[in-house]
């Protein structure tokens, strides 16, 4: 390729969008630096059990992407790294990257001896705090770079049990962070999203009742690497639920919360309904919706799930959820029947939406945002946004617009070089 700029493309965020942007650019012959805040790449997608509409595991595509990352000599991945400062330079951006201390270095073989002796337990961020893990551990089964990480803040004072246990001299409790500056020709921001906190939905039981869970948590419950080993169980008593309710637009399409549609929640719930029916065939699943949004061929998922015995889709937004004997009571109007329902469920999944990670933060690179915190391309500054940082969308769309963003960034880089 005729990219004359010798400076790399900088991609911030190594979720599916960021990985895609960096890889597509690097495979086109461009140098790329991929910066990720967490200690391993993969972002939100790896926390999903399956993708819709194919109902396939995200780690399948990620396996290919990791192989691509490993093989490509033009790509550099910095994990545990954040943008500290970014200034416009003559040919793009001069970006200071702060790399946090890496207490477990590349000598780690993931043998696990350190985990076994670690006395400190922390809530597992990968499983959204639903279980506890040792302070030193593999962050998740598909973690790449494949190394253990240490939550240093959880270490008991003076403890060096892991250091003593490590045969490979891979742990340095005094490791220091560092900073490096990258002269980037263009930047793609793919900082992703966070789930809308269910605590902000107390009227739907969010944060009040154990058996009201967010869709992202439910995804972990269904995953073999999740806190229950993939068994769908009620958090309150660990029993399999029999009546599961999916409450759509929990916070989305709502001026009191997120005024936009989060674009994925309908399909996420339909997909999760299939998890339930697969594991608990006699379970009754009801999805309460405003509009069933399954664009494109995703319609097939809707058609299939709606036709499944024991699955009902009811038009009507749930207004209130209260505890009742043995479970939860959902109050709504069944719009088609024109009646108020007090529906019973023993597990409620709130289909919460996506909040742009740019929202509320001091935006890096001075990126422009809309009122909802989604980033806006700035071609003049060779700055492009990809994935959910740009707008609420599913994985397929993220991959598409990440490739598009990489293309735009390469063109801009070439122009300004």
């Amino acid at each position: 390729m005729n990219v004359s700029s010798p400076q790399p493309l900088l991609v911030v965020g190594a979720g599916i969008a960021g990985i895609t942007a960096a890889l597509e650019a690097a495979e086109a012959g461009k140098e790329a630096v991929l910066v990720e805040r967490e200690q391993a790449v993969g972002g939100r997608v790896l926390r999903s059990h399956q993708y819709f509409p194919k109902l396939c595991p995200p780690s399948c595509g990620m396996e290919i992407n990791v192989r691509r990352l490993e093989k490509n000599p033009r790509i550099r991945v910095l994990t545990g790294a954040q943008v500290a400062k970014a200034d416009r330079s003559a040919n793009g951006w001069s970006v200071a990257i702060a790399v946090s201390p890496r207490f477990v270095n590349e000598r780690c073989t993931v043998c696990g001896d350190c985990s076994k002796v670690c006395p400190a337990k922390v809530p597992d961020p990968f499983n959204l705090g639903m279980n506890e893990v040792p302070a030193i551990r593999l962050p998740h089964p598909d973690a790449w770079p494949r190394r253990f990480v240490l939550d240093r803040s959880a270490c008991p004072s003076g403890c060096k049990a892991c250091v003593d246990a490590c045969t490979y001299d891979a742990i340095d409790l005094n490791a220091a962070g560092r900073e490096e500056t990258i002269e980037a020709s263009a930047v793609v921001l793919a900082t992703g999203w966070s789930p809308y906190p269910i605590e902000k939905l107390p009227e739907l039981g969010g944060g009040r009742f154990q058996d009201v869970v967010a869709n992202v948590n439910f995804e972990r419950l269904a995953s073999p690497s999740g806190p229950t080993g993939g068994k769908i169980l009620r958090p309150s008593d660990g029993t399999p639920p029999k009546k599961i309710a999916f409450v759509q637009c929990a916070g989305s399409r709502d001026v009191n919360h997120l005024p936009y549609c989060s674009a994925v929640c309908c399909l996420a719930s339909l997909k999760q309904a299939t998890y339930v029916k697969e594991q608990i065939p006699d379970a009754e699943v009801t999805m309460y919706y405003i509009d069933r949004r399954a664009p494109g061929r995703n319609e097939d998922v809707l058609t299939k799930v709606a036709a499944t015995e024991g699955v009902k889709l009811v038009k009507g937004k749930v207004g209130k959820i209260e505890e009742c004997a043995g479970g939860l009571k959902l109050r709504l109007e069944d719009v088609e029947a024109g009646r108020i329902l007090d529906a019973f469920a023993d597990l409620v999944v709130l289909a919460t939406g996506m909040v742009s990670s740019l929202k509320g933060e001091k935006p890096p690179f001075g990126v422009g945002m809309d009122d909802d915190g989604f980033g806006l391309d700035n071609p003049g500054a060779s700055l492009f946004i990809a994935g959910v940082a740009r707008r609420p969308e599913d994985v397929a769309a993220s991959v598409r617009d990440a490739t598009g963003a990489a293309a735009k960034a390469l063109v801009a880089a070439r122009r300004s070089a």
Binding site: M1, C60, K71, P295, K315
Partner: protein, 750 residues
Amino acid sequence: MEKIGLFLCTGCEIGAAIKTDGLESLAKKGGAKSVVMHPFLCSEEGVAAIRKAVDDGSVDSVLIAACSPRAKTAEFRFDPLKVSVERIGLREQVAWSHPHGEEDTQMLAEDLLRMGLVRIKKNILPKPLAETIEKTVLVVGGGVAGLSAAKAAAGMGHPVVLVESSARLGGSMAGVKDAAPEQPPYGELHKNTIGELISAVQGNASVRVLLQARTVHIAGQPGQFTVDVESPSGKETFLAGAIVQATGASPYDATKLGDLGYGLTPDVVTSVDLDRMIAKGEIRRPSDGKPPRRILFVQCAGSRDPAHLPYCSSECCVTTLRQVAAVHRDLPGMECAVVYRDMRTPGQMEHFYQAVQEQPGSMFTRGEVAKVEKGPEGNLVVRLKDSLLGPDAALQADLVVLAVGMIPNSADSEAIRALRDARVGAEKGDSDVQRAHAAKVAEELAFHEGTEILNLEYRQGPDLPVLRYKFSDSHYICFPYETRRTGIYAAGTVRAPMDAAQAAEDGWGAGLKTVQCISAATRGEAVHPRAGDISVADFSLQRCTQCKRCTEECPFGAINEDVKYTPQYNPMRCRRCGICMGCCPERIINFPEYSVDAVGSMVKAIEVPDELDEKPRVVAFLCENDALPALDEAAARRLSWNPWVRVIPVRCLGAVNVIWIADAMARGIDGVLLIGCRKGDDYQCHYMTGSELANKRMENIQETLTRLKLDSTRVRILEIGRNEFDRIPQIFAEFEKVIEETGPNPMKGF
């Protein structure tokens, strides 16, 4: 390879699990020139030891017996042009998954070592391609996606030829006045910027636009496509390195929508018709030319309907909102009633939905149109069912607009191919019955005649293979651009239903993919999913029987045929999956470091104990993308499984040659497992059809078994998800039970 160096790691419990001294002598016996044992092979010191041996020329191939080939890849990577590397996953397959110090564990490790040794012995160093690569990008289709792709490729320094079949650029967005908002605050109509895009492309010196033109013939491979284009200025031939197909979609044929009143009066129109009226600035009733007072929009006209288009066309809801906003702007006070099933305004389009709702005269209801009738005043009466207005509401309207869905402008390559074959068969078939059958097939497929778009000279048909609903085939979630024709990328609505803004993005992405493909070809590397692979297949054509299996089965159509059906391999179309290798009965297709002989030798290297030892043996071929990682994960969790299983990773189940199974049976191995990815409509196979083909080949395998007088239960093919590590021990245990019931392989000891 000749000078094999075995590097045996004893760390990560390997040293504790097995007697490594035994392995050392075994390796020497098996032909290893040198054996280095290291307690921490992936450390700097360990890697330095390997590097030293490579650099001083004492070894030409490195057999690393340590962790899984998926682990520590950076540490154990050496120049593939200089040294051959194979890896034995002793840690995952032995130390972490089997009891330490036991006889079975030791036997397993020894077998794995034997297998590794014979495998690497068969490897040869690859000779990379060095071809002349054309940089020009061909874009077929001049709509939003095609124009964007052209802009992208040209922006990255590539010459572009854009071929558009009509007389003007812009596709379905040309002649549309407004665009849905793409920028905040998302409440107002934006100007349709297709004109600017057209000017940018036309004004770009790197882009040559050919209007009223068609690609009549495309031959060759990525980096070297020869393209013939016919246009009013004549026929011309040029070279292209890669291709974007952005041929868009057509509105669904409204004449099939009589149920929704189309054809009843001229006042039932499609959304495309209304766009024309809006562009002309004359929103009128076609029947009498008067401005309507109330327009009723019917959503999902043809979409989400098994009788028409089962899928959602994705953009119609927002298109209707755009049109309602335009109507309110041009004819204030007009009533616009929208009847929808579900309003689909994802993301920030929700803001647009609300803004349009707030415009005076906007009315929305969920419901379905039951019937459209003529009204008494020359207007229309629309009867709704299950609407929110009541179970059987009826409403008068002056104009009814059907928001019609989209059908991709694709060609069903496989059907066209079948039609062509049938025509030949009808003429040259061996018997009357065959000719008659072929003629019948040809008649049924006749409607595909003349639907070709790209006119590829590919054995498997002239166009991109399509998925259900005729959108082009790809791994549309993770790798949406990866079609089944290397170097040819689908973009825009021919790939999936999408709106104009998304099609533009898609065009940009496809533009990058063409540049990437050309870049990889220049480096002599494969593209996705084995990006960077520099080895290519070798066809020993002197032994070819012209059976056509490879030319039929290659998922990427990489192999053409000459007139005698001899395969003609196009290395730059090749994705290195090895499916051709798997299907070849003569075993003449091989890769330098991945051959029928090499894997067959691995099978044959397995020591099969005597029947009296009651230690059955199972060979499991595992897909290296999904099944092998699942196995590694099971090991990482220290799950344990049957020690009699010998795992051989393969690039794809489709790359498993039946001869390996025959070899295993002949060797006295009791059973063979093939574990790979999901097949079918929602396939997960990264080579698209590999799993499907492997399953089809099972029939042949059953024949082989019968011929060998063996029970067919000895071979089983299974699907596993990348995340289903917990099923690994279970699968092996269940298969062990089957083998036990079937009894030992009678060929043992022969």
